[in-house]
């Protein structure tokens, strides 16, 4: 059972889902012919049917088209957020672990302090500092994720450093850079990648939360969190306006989650 885990049906399905959303990012008009921003006013608040598979919103815009174009808003922004978190976290955590002593102690203290602040509040503190907008929201989410990456990278590098073969390399004269490049990085790569993919799915949800609260992209943008927020006024009449953007979020987050487990699971890639 374990042997086939990397190409299990669930994993293939997750990759397939992410591939469809990738297509939506690079070539959205291949998936829909409707316009996501300007609607047909007479077709407003239509229930899902054969022409509008997921219905239309209060301005007569096709919900499916808005979800497809919305992938372009949330998914790359979540990538930027996670990249920010990974790079900053790896730099801080790696630096702390390689330095040791008082540098490690004080950086670890700082990480503990940042972890004590709920992530959403930390992200909002950054948003209040930088102002609203999609790029700012992505940075805010990335910075709020940094501490947990830093903590895990630090612990990982410290345990790798204590490995006998790394000590042996050090004693046989391998330099600082060589140690990191030849021994630490290759072994830290997979766990950190697994964590990054997991964090990516959380970044998608956090970004949609900021969008929902109104701190992300401004209104005509087809952003999923914003779509849910706009649909809130039509709860009693148009359930499709809030339900489907949320389902899109759920599906992407689950697919990324599953991929992360496949990457992290021991024996995941060995046939």
């Amino acid at each position: 059972m374990k042997r086939l885990s990397f190409f299990s049906p669930e994993t293939l399905l997750s990759i397939g889902i992410l591939a469809v959303f990738m297509l939506a990012i690079v070539w959205p008009s291949a998936l829909t012919s409707s316009d996501p921003v300007t609607g047909v006013a007479k077709d407003h608040l239509l229930a899902p049917d054969r022409t509008h598979w997921l219905g239309t919103d209060q301005l007569g815009r096709d919900v499916l088209a808005r979800i497809i174009y919305g992938a372009r808003e949330t998914l790359p922004a979540a990538f930027i957020a996670t990249l920010t978190g990974v790079v900053l976290g790896a730099l801080i955590g790696g630096f702390a672990a390689m330095s040791g002593g008082i540098v490690d102690a004080s950086l670890s203290g700082l990480i503990d302090v940042l972890l004590s602040i709920p992530e959403l509040l930390l992200a909002l503190s950054v948003v209040i500092l930088t102002g609203f907008g999609p790029v700012h929201a992505a940075l805010a989410v990335g910075i709020s994720q940094t501490a947990s990456f830093a903590r895990i990278v630090r612990n990982l590098v410290r345990s790798l450093r204590a490995m006998p073969y790394v000590e042996a390399a050090h004693l046989s004269g391998t330099g600082f850079g060589g140690m990191i490049w030849r021994h630490i990085l290759p072994n830290a790569f997979r766990p950190v990648l697994g964590l990054a993919v997991l964090r990516y799915s959380m970044a998608i949800l956090s970004l949609a939360t900021l969008g929902f609260l109104g701190y992300g992209a401004p209104p005509p943008t087809p952003e999923w969190g914003l779509m849910i927020s706009e649909g809130r006024d039509y709860l009693a009449t148009a359930w499709w306006m809030t339900t489907f953007p949320g389902l899109a979020l759920l599906i992407v987050a689950l697919a990324a989650n599953h991929l992360s487990h496949t990457i992290t699971r021991p024996g995941g890639t060995q046939p």
Partner: protein, 334 residues
């Protein structure tokens, strides 16, 4: 402090006393750190909130008056002086003034806190209920596919956006089934629907950890021994497996508290409650730094106190940890 170094009075407290003091000291240092980080982060604000509000030409204030306003709100324009001043005021229970509304931050917080505390308390209790129900169901239900479905449920829940589940709950329970009204209800009834929404994502990581732990405990030799003696499935589960599996879930308390706060901010927006979440939104929209800082400190304090409580309780619950409390398990990351 001198006794701290010599250790004479601490030795009298015994191992647990020393452990407890270290944990309390650690908690205070982390809180001070959280205050310092957020203070300097928020002081770096590009558009000084005081300036934004009072430089509005319609008010017609002179630069001298603006400077006077700034001194009134934040004491001084030198960040270090402000830092010392603010920390001194905070220790006396004075959290400064809201730039947007001109009222003391403490008054705003005091008005908003009860709603959020009710929401958090009910949400937390519900999450414990879900967690236990999932654990019991996934272990004892007769049908195999049902047990497997329950095993997969926490992973599924954690991917659900909170505000979305809140909206679905309103749609289902209020608009379709007419079970509970959303507006015009008492303080506790009004909190039931949002508490259900908050409890789901909190229960997910707890349930996941508890299920993992139950699986590990089931493999232990003593469980096998009791089973071979003929004890029933249910009695083995409730008397032996569950009590031995529950402690790791406790260590997630801090994380859970963070989720509760985040959950409150979003859920109050969905359900139109006027709690801390509502205050947070207003503070962010109006760049009201003093209010946001107070809320961040409430969040950090809750996290630290929750972790401290667990750190102090665990050696009491589990005697094997009493001799060598090596520190709490890491709860960050996944």
């Amino acid at each position: 402090m001198s006794s701290f170094r010599s250790g004479s009075s601490l030795d009298a407290l015994g191992g647990f006393g020393r452990y407890a003091l270290t944990q309390v000291f650690r908690a205070i240092v982390i809180l001070w750190g959280a205050f310092t980080v957020t203070f300097f982060l928020l002081q770096m604000m590009p558009g000084d909130a005081v300036m934004i509000r009072f430089m509005d030409p319609e008010l017609g204030l002179s630069p001298e008056q603006i400077e006077a306003m700034r001194v009134l709100y934040s004491g001084s324009s030198n960040p270090l002086v402000q830092y010392v001043h603010t920390i001194g005021q905070m220790l006396q229970g004075n959290f400064g003034y809201s730039v947007q509304l001109g009222v003391p931050v403490a008054t705003l917080i005091a008005a908003a806190l009860p709603v959020t505390l009710r929401l958090a308390a009910v949400g937390f209790l519900l999450s414990l209920l879900w967690t236990l129900a999932i654990a019991v169901g996934a272990s004892l239900l007769p049908l195999r596919w049902l047990r497997q479905a329950l095993h997969a449920l926490p992973g599924f829940w954690s991917a659900i956006p909170l505000y979305w589940s809140g909206i679905l709950i309103i749609q289902l329970l209020s608009f379709r089934l007419h079970l509970l009204p959303v507006v015009g209800v008492g303080p506790w009834e009004g909190v039931i629907l949002p508490a259900i929404a908050v409890s789901l994502p909190i229960a997910a990581p707890q349930a996941k950890l508890l299920l993992q732990q139950i699986e590990e405990t089931e493999q232990l030799p003593f469980v096998m021994a009791i089973r071979t003696k003929g004890a029933s499935r249910a009695s083995v589960f409730f008397r032996h497996i569950l009590p031995n599996s529950i402690i790791p879930s406790l260590t997630m308390a801090g994380l859970v508290f963070g989720e509760l706060i985040a959950g409150a901010i979003v859920t109050e927006t969905v359900f139109g409650l006027n709690g801390l979440g509502h205050l947070t939104r207003e503070a962010v929209s109006g760049q009201d730094v003093a209010v946001l800082q107070a809320i961040v400190m409430i969040g950090a304090t809750g996290f630290v106190v929750a972790n401290l409580t667990v750190d102090l309780l665990i050696p009491l619950i589990n005697p094997t940890l009493r001799s060598a409390p090596a520190g709490r398990k890491e709860t960050s990351g996944s």
